[in-house]
């Protein structure tokens, strides 16, 4: 059942056939029913007329016996006629309502009552006022089963009757003949069966015809249309639907073909545009590729150049250190030799000789300072400072730096105070060499720029997580305009350069670098002519 319903839903043909089938069944049923009704009416009219006719004949046949008042002869005639199988009962009533002859003997002598239907035919039904009088025929059923036709024929008073009856009386009696309708019923049944039989045959034939017609007129063109849409869906735009009919399907095909034509034109246009677009994209891609190749080439050159630069940078740093190192050994020999001379280890020298040796030594020391700066710049650039950080006691570094400059402080008669307030040990994580150089550099500067008899103070204070190291002097100080630039590479305070040719302009920038690599800060406060204070911080360990 479900499959049938599905098919009904899925197929146009099935839907049409189903609808037409229903229409056919309804039409056939109405037609059959109408034919049955007509047949019934015709038959009943026919049987009525026949009944009336037969009743008159029966009356006529008994006419003579009545004129002679031969009741037994009438009875005999009644009995004879009643033998006919289509006649159920014959009853004769007198004008007084008494049954004087009947095909059923027990009725004879019975007085008619209100329930006798034969009387109702003329006198009406008193229990039902609307029933019409003077209806000579009636159809009724007994035992709710068989149907009968009752025909009432009045026996009128005629001149030939006047001999026995008063001529003022109109009706002398009544003949009631009841016919069995068994035969009629059978006939109707046969007719009904015939109608159903022919109805079914007609239904089947018409259905087949409708099916074939639908197949030819609807299914085929629809299928053709479906096929066409599929073909076009596959991209075959040259396909045409061949439905030539003048109906809606034909029109649908025509407009479909027109639509396909439009579609084909649009498609052609699009593909033309596509081709143009593709061509343009290809051109652009080609140009991109060329540009890309050029870029790659440039990039490769850049990389080579970069590698070269990096190698050059490395080489430069290395070269710097090697040169500085090779310069330092002979220079330290020179200074040491001059120290020996100055100390008089090799005998007394004149004052002029002493002055000359001091000049030579001062210049050699400047060169050593420069070389030490260069070495430390190289170390900073090559990441040696970070690599070599370890736990060191700050007070030892300060002591070493102070020792290093001790001979110079003595020469200039400077007093150098070291004031370390936090308790030992002052642990810091630093690169020993660069931090040592930093301290030597700052203290050395103080010594360098402080006139004879001046005071230099090295002070260490504890601040939260760091130590603050301060180196103060009572030297020449730094002009205010120079202060912001003092830590820049190759910058030298104007007065420092003019007063004294020592110094490279690298020392303070290197000091800043070293402090920053250690995560600290460096700064200076100064007043020209009064002195300077350099300070820097180092993280506590």
């Amino acid at each position: 059942m479900g499959r049938l319903l599905n098919k009904l839903r899925g197929s146009l043909n099935a839907k049409l056939i189903f609808s037409i089938g229903i229409a056919l069944i309804v039409t056939t049923s109405i037609l059959g029913f109408t034919a049955m009704q007509l047949q019934r009416k015709q038959l009943s009219d026919q049987i009525n007329n026949q009944g009336i006719f037969v009743s008159e004949i029966i009356q006529k046949s008994m006419w003579k016996a009545m004129l002679q008042c031969k009741i037994p002869a009438i009875q005999r005639t009644v009995d004879e006629i009643a033998k006919h199988h289509e006649i159920y009962r014959i009853t004769l009533y007198s004008s007084g309502g008494e049954v004087f002859a009947s095909s059923q003997p027990k009725d004879i002598g019975r007085k008619a009552n209100k329930l006798d239907k034969a009387c109702i035919a003329c006198h009406g039904d008193h229990s039902n006022p609307s029933s019409l009088p003077y209806k000579l025929t009636r159809i009724f059923s007994l035992n709710d089963k068989d149907q009968y036709l009752g025909v009432v024929t009045p026996i009128y008073n005629e001149p030939s009757c006047y001999k026995c009856h008063d001529h003022q009386i109109t009706v002398l009696g009544l003949l009631d003949v009841i016919f069995s309708l068994e035969k009629v019923k059978k006939g109707l049944k046969q007719f009904q069966q015939k109608i159903i039989r022919y109805g079914i045959i007609t239904f089947v034939i018409i259905s087949c015809l409708v099916y074939l017609l639908l197949r030819y007129l609807v299914s085929k063109p629809v299928k053709a249309l479906i096929e066409a849409t599929q073909k076009i869906g596959e991209g075959n735009y040259d396909y045409q639907v061949l439905v030539k009919s003048q109906d809606e399907l034909g029109m649908l095909s025509l407009s479909f073909n027109a639509m396909v034509k439009d579609l084909k034109e649009s498609q052609d246009k699009i593909s033309r545009w596509n081709q143009e677009l593709e061509k343009k994209i290809n051109e652009a891609t080609l140009q991109c590729e060329i540009a890309n190749r050029e870029l790659r080439g440039a990039n490769a050159s850049c990389q080579v150049a970069n590698r070269g630069l990096r190698e050059y940078d490395k080489l430069r740093s290395r070269y710097l250190r090697i040169v500085a190192h090779e310069l330092r050994a002979p220079l330290s020999n020179i200074t040491s030799s001059m120290d020996i001379l100055l100390k008089g280890y090799l005998g007394e020298i004149t004052n002029q000789q002493t002055d000359m040796i001091i000049i030579a030594k001062k210049n050699a020391d400047s060169l050593l300072d420069l070389i030490n700066d260069l070495l430390n710049i190289g170390r900073a650039e090559q990441g040696e400072i970070e690599k070599n950080m370890r736990e060191v006691f700050l007070e030892n570094l300060i002591k070493e730096a102070v020792d290093f400059v001790s001979s110079k402080t003595a020469e200039k008669n400077l007093s150098l105070h070291v004031n370390i307030s936090p308790p030992s040990p002052l642990k810091v994580n630093v690169d020993m060499k660069s931090t040592g150089h930093l301290l030597t550099n700052l203290i050395g500067n103080a010594v360098k720029y402080t006139p004879k008899g001046g005071i230099i103070t090295v002070k260490v204070e504890e601040q939260a997580d760091q130590y603050l190291i301060e180196i103060s002097d009572t030297g020449i100080g730094i002009p205010e305009k120079d202060l912001p630039n003092i830590f820049e590479e190759f910058y030298r305070a104007g007065n420092a350069y003019n007063l004294d040719r020592e110094g490279t302009g690298l020392g303070l920038s290197l000091a800043k670098k070293i402090v920053e690599i250690h995560g600290g800060e460096i700064g200076v406060t100064s007043k020209e002519g009064k002195g300077s204070t350099f300070y820097f911080s180092l993280k506590k360990l």
Binding site: N333, T335, K343, F404, S407
Partner: protein
């Protein structure tokens, strides 16, 4: 006081340097013997039995100074002659120091150039601790 003079052996391939420090140390009342190669240094060490050695780590090749130091340490045995390692700063100076300290513990490392005062102070401390 000649028997009281301490004998110092300087091993360095820089003859000028050696001579400078020879004069300085002699002026400071030390007896100085010198050698400009490791082999010679070892030989003199055996012969002279110095009280202290100043050894250049960077002699010829960086390792050589250490090797000589190690040899001397072996030869010295329980004598425990103190050694001052001297070296010019190099790329691997810090590593060199570590290695030197590993091989020849309890000695003093001095970076060139150093001052007379610093050297004398170190010599004094080593010799006094030896006593």
């Amino acid at each position: 006081m000649s028997e009281g003079k301490k004998k110092i052996l300087i091993i360095d391939d820089d003859r000028d340097y050696m001579n400078i420090w020879k004069i300085v140390l002699e002026k400071n009342s030390f007896e100085v013997v010198s050698a400009d190669s490791g082999e010679e240094g070892l030989a003199i060490f055996e012969k002279e039995k110095p009280d202290l050695i100043i050894l250049d780590v960077m002699m010829e090749t960086p390792d050589k100074g250490f090797r000589i130091g190690e040899e001397i340490k072996k030869k010295v045995g329980l004598l425990g002659t103190p050694i001052i390692l001297a070296s010019a700063s190099t790329d691997n100076a810090d590593i060199d120091i570590d290695r030197a300290m590993d091989w020849i513990p309890a000695e003093i490392y001095m970076e060139k150039p150093f001052t007379e005062e610093a050297l004398l102070k170190n010599i004094d401390s080593l010799l006094s601790s030896k006593k």
